[in-house]
């Protein structure tokens, strides 16, 4: 793991990895969404709104995956002091927040024709909205920690917040089981799926494609954050003479 602690080595890998993730990600996600819209038949209960599945579900999964990335990177940062872990956590926050917001918006659009309401304050929707607010809090904290030149403990506050916020992920996952909800129960669990193959395959390809895009965006943001740190360090050295 510490082999990639060297930013120069990481940047060599990242330059190669970015297009390798981004191009197939775009092709797979856009292709799977087009496949679902064109060929998936209308559902007997939801009608054609079932096609919203191909954008809503990957966004929701990646909203949760984004915070899981923050939590895992925070553990690595706190336990092993890996120099790139804090940068990886910060880089995952913005795409995670964007996918969470897109999951909420597309879910709301799906709710109106299906439930007759844009929004209901049930366990799933409310815990997912809390996830978006947690992202805002994390982004603000991480930004403040980076500006704090004193270093030390201030840099660890976003990591602790990332770990504490991870408690919301199992709550989101189990909310439809624990509480009464208009939202349907889990359709895909470990090794099982209640979704017919006609809908499932384009969904899995879309989810994989969007995950590759997520990975590419995290790498692009890590490169940006590293470049900013290197610029600041160079300017500080010059100012000190």
């Amino acid at each position: 793991m510490h082999a990639f602690a060297n930013p120069a080595r990481f940047l060599r890998l990242a330059r190669w990895l970015l297009p390798v993730l981004l191009v197939p990600g775009l092709v797979m996600s856009l292709g799977a969404v087009a496949w679902g819209v064109a060929y998936a038949p209308p559902d007997h209960l939801m009608g054609v709104t079932v096609k919203i599945l191909y954008i809503h579900v990957p966004c929701v999964w990646l909203g949760m995956a984004g915070w899981s990335t923050i939590a895992i990177s925070s553990i690595v940062e706190l336990v092993w002091r890996h120099p790139l872990a804090a940068i990886a956590a910060r880089a995952a926050a913005v795409p995670g927040a964007v996918f969470t917001a897109l999951g909420l918006i597309t879910g709301s659009i799906w709710g109106r024709p299906t439930w007759g309401a844009w929004w209901v304050w049930d366990g799933r929707l409310t815990s997912f909205l809390i996830l978006l607010f947690l992202y805002f809090g994390y982004i603000a904290l991480a930004d403040a920690a980076q500006r704090d030149a004193s270093g030390g403990n201030a840099a660890r506050i976003p990591a602790i917040f990332g770990l504490v916020g991870a408690i919301n992920i199992p709550i989101i996952n189990r909310s439809v089981v624990w509480w009464n909800s208009l939202h349907q129960p889990p359709s895909i669990t470990m090794g099982k799926s209640a979704i017919d193959g006609t809908y499932l395959w384009p969904l899995l390809i879309a989810a994989l494609g969007f995950s590759l895009i997520f990975g590419a965006v995290v790498i692009a943001r890590m490169r940006m954050l590293l470049a900013d740190i290197q610029t600041e360090a160079r300017l500080r050295r010059k100012a000190l003479g």
Partner: protein, 46 residues
């Protein structure tokens, strides 16, 4: 009163917002990365 909704309008709205939002995020991240790396290289050359 029974409300008639055109379901396709909701499907297209969700797809356009989802796809456009993702593409804007990708473009913004790539541009920010290129801008930061260009700034770093400029400072290094000085």
């Amino acid at each position: 009163m029974h409300e008639r909704l055109n379901q396709w309008e909701f499907v297209w709205a969700a797809l356009v917002i989802g796809v456009a939002g993702t593409l804007v995020m990708v473009g913004w991240s790539l541009l920010a990365m290129l801008r930061a790396e260009r700034r770093r290289d400029k400072v290094r050359r000085k």
